[in-house]
């Protein structure tokens, strides 16, 4: 009886939420893993054939999945660093208190609060052959007509929409950098860049890790913008993992294989997150 008591209090705090999570997220997640082992027939009551790991083997031999994964990876690589760099840059510029500070904060944050569907439609429209981008730049580029330029448009949207998010977190983190350390560095004759590298950067390093992990998860899970802007066109060349998975699942009704793709992507994201955690933890201690 007594040995149970220390558990009781935390259990009362954690249990309600965790039960809800278990019932409505974790249980369906396990179902999805089970589905991935079958040639799963969607209809209620139909018999499905057990395939073991065949869906996973198929994934490794699916050339289009690899193309889709490379597009997701390109998206991730070209959106995560700019979101971090630009978000941090703007946060540094916004560090000084001024009457305009709240206004700028809202303007930069505005894209974050708008729905993905809406801004994706907007970017499709802006990058149209007769759209605003071509008009402003005086170009005649068919942005969405081939893989490379279409990915430029999709990545531009990702960066544009994400800057405000990382900016807000960096502003917060920068307020936690001890002013005394910066003053000390100034007295030692360190320039602005040196002060940034030796004082500011180490202080916000854990924040950098948090942002990086969340952005990598989001980057590899890019879906709505791609579906709304190109839906894989032309000829599937701009498919990302989730658009490929969506079509496999809901257009071709191949639920087993779709689930296998989802599980593989989750494993990949989990591994990358673990790697980043280690990287940013080591950076902080060194």
């Amino acid at each position: 009886m007594h040995s149970l008591r220390p558990w009781l209090t935390p259990a009362l705090f954690v249990a309600p939420g965790f039960l809800v999570y278990t019932a409505f997220i974790l249980y369906p997640m396990l179902q999805a893993v089970i589905i991935s082992l079958y040639d799963w027939k969607i209809v209620a009551g139909a018999t499905s054939t057990f395939l073991g790991l065949a869906n996973y083997v198929r994934a490794f031999n699916d050339a289009h999945l690899w193309l889709s994964l490379s597009n997701s990876a390109i998206y991730m690589l070209f959106t995560v660093p700019p979101q971090i760099a630009l978000g941090l840059g703007i946060a540094l510029l916004l560090q000084h208190k001024s009457p305009a500070q709240p206004l700028f904060r809202v303007l930069y944050y505005l894209p974050v609060v708008t729905s993905w569907v809406v801004v994706s439609l907007l970017f499709k429209y802006l990058f149209a052959d007769r759209g605003l981008i071509n008009f402003l730049l005086g170009l005649q580029v068919s942005w969405l007509s081939e893989r490379g330029t279409a990915l430029v448009a999709i990545c531009a949207l990702g960066v544009w929409k994400g800057i405000g998010w990382s900016m807000m977190i960096f502003i917060a983190a920068l307020q936690g950098v001890p002013g005394s350390l910066i003053e000390a560095a100034k007295i030692d004759g360190a320039g602005p860049w040196q002060r940034f590298v030796s004082v500011t950067l180490p202080a916000i390093w854990p924040t950098m890790g948090f942002i990086s992990i969340m952005l990598v998860i989001g980057g590899l899970n890019v879906f709505t913008s791609v579906q709304a802007i190109t839906d894989g066109a032309p000829g599937g060349s701009t498919d990302v993992v989730l658009t490929h998975m969506y079509r496999t699942t809901f257009a071709f009704l191949d639920f087993g294989y779709g689930s296998a793709i989802a599980v593989l992507l989750t494993v990949l994201v989990f591994a990358l997150s673990a790697f980043q955690l280690r990287f940013f933890r080591n950076g902080a201690t060194s």
Binding site: P16, F24, M29, F104, S115, W160, L242, A262
Partner: protein, 277 residues
């Protein structure tokens, strides 16, 4: 020195202004398009000031379709889900942050897995579950899954914050004889207001915009939420952009309102949560 400082300050303002213009130009274009009739939408060169301007898109949205009802449904669902999710996550985060118990990190990692799995793969198992529980085609059915779906991120966010609160305050109250629940309600929650505000903004945004589950679960027109109504404006045979953008502008107003109300707490909340990440 002061001349140089003033020059730097001007440069900063100019840079920020240019950046802000890039950030909001797409919005202004969207606002402008919402006042255009279809035949002016694709004009070359693009018009920033609609000529002729029309209110017909807004009239159509506000008076012809049942947008008021969908707006109300979305509001009910988002406000309820946000309140419940933030409360449950705050409790979980407090439990994870303030107590040591066997399997704590293990449970936490399982929770984080919920951030990583593509949500659309859960939809079919969730639908079967919802049917079994009688939660299909109802606003409570949306709320339950929205709460469950936002717990992981909110708990992740708030755990760091609670860990950063000084332990001494907690101890002092304990000596006063306050039980754990009272310490949570009267001490931890008020101190965590910034974190709660952060979670509120994120959760409200996520639930306000959710489309896939609402589409799957809702059948009756009277239970529709805004994202479904906006999707219905896009047709397989031509989309009326002016109409879509007018509806979208109406749809983002509450999200911006929530942001403006809570953003003053926002900064502090994220620091603590993020630093622990």
């Amino acid at each position: 020195m002061s001349a140089q400082a003033r020059a730097l300050s001007s440069l900063r303002i100019v840079t920020l202004t240019i950046g802000a213009m890039v950030m909001i130009t797409p919005f202004l274009y969207m606002v402008s398009t919402s006042f255009k009739a279809q035949q002016y939408v694709l004009k070359v060169p693009p018009q920033f000031i609609p000529d002729p301007a029309t209110l017909s898109n807004y009239q159509r949205i506000l008076f012809k379709d049942d947008f008021g009802l969908y707006f109300l449904n979305s509001l009910i669902v988002s406000v309820t889900s946000t309140t419940l999710s933030v409360l449950l996550s705050a409790m979980m985060a407090y439990g994870f942050a303030r107590y040591r118990f066997p399997g704590r990190e293990w449970l936490f990692r399982i929770l984080l897995l919920g951030l990583m799995i593509p949500a659309m793969m859960l939809i079919v198992p969730q639908f079967v579950l919802a049917k079994w529980l009688g939660l299909i085609d109802s606003l409570p059915g949306l709320i339950v899954f929205y709460v469950a779906g936002t717990l992981a991120l909110n708990t992740f966010l708030m755990r760091g914050f609670f860990e950063a609160l000084p332990q001494e305050l907690d101890d002092a109250m304990q000596i006063d004889g306050a039980n754990a629940w009272r310490r949570f309600i009267t001490l931890a929650l008020p101190l965590a207001r910034p974190a709660l505000a952060t979670a509120t903004i994120f959760t409200f945004l996520a639930t306000w915009d959710e489309y896939a589950w609402a589409l799957t679960s809702i059948v009756s027109p009277e239970n529709k939420t805004l994202p479904i109504a906006v999707a219905l404006l896009q047709g397989p045979r031509g989309t009326q952009w002016g109409l879509v953008f007018a509806a979208s502008i109406i749809a983002i107003l509450p999200v911006i309102t929530v942001f403006l109300i809570f953003q003053r707490h926002f900064v502090q909340g994220l620091t603590a949560g993020a630093v622990k990440g």
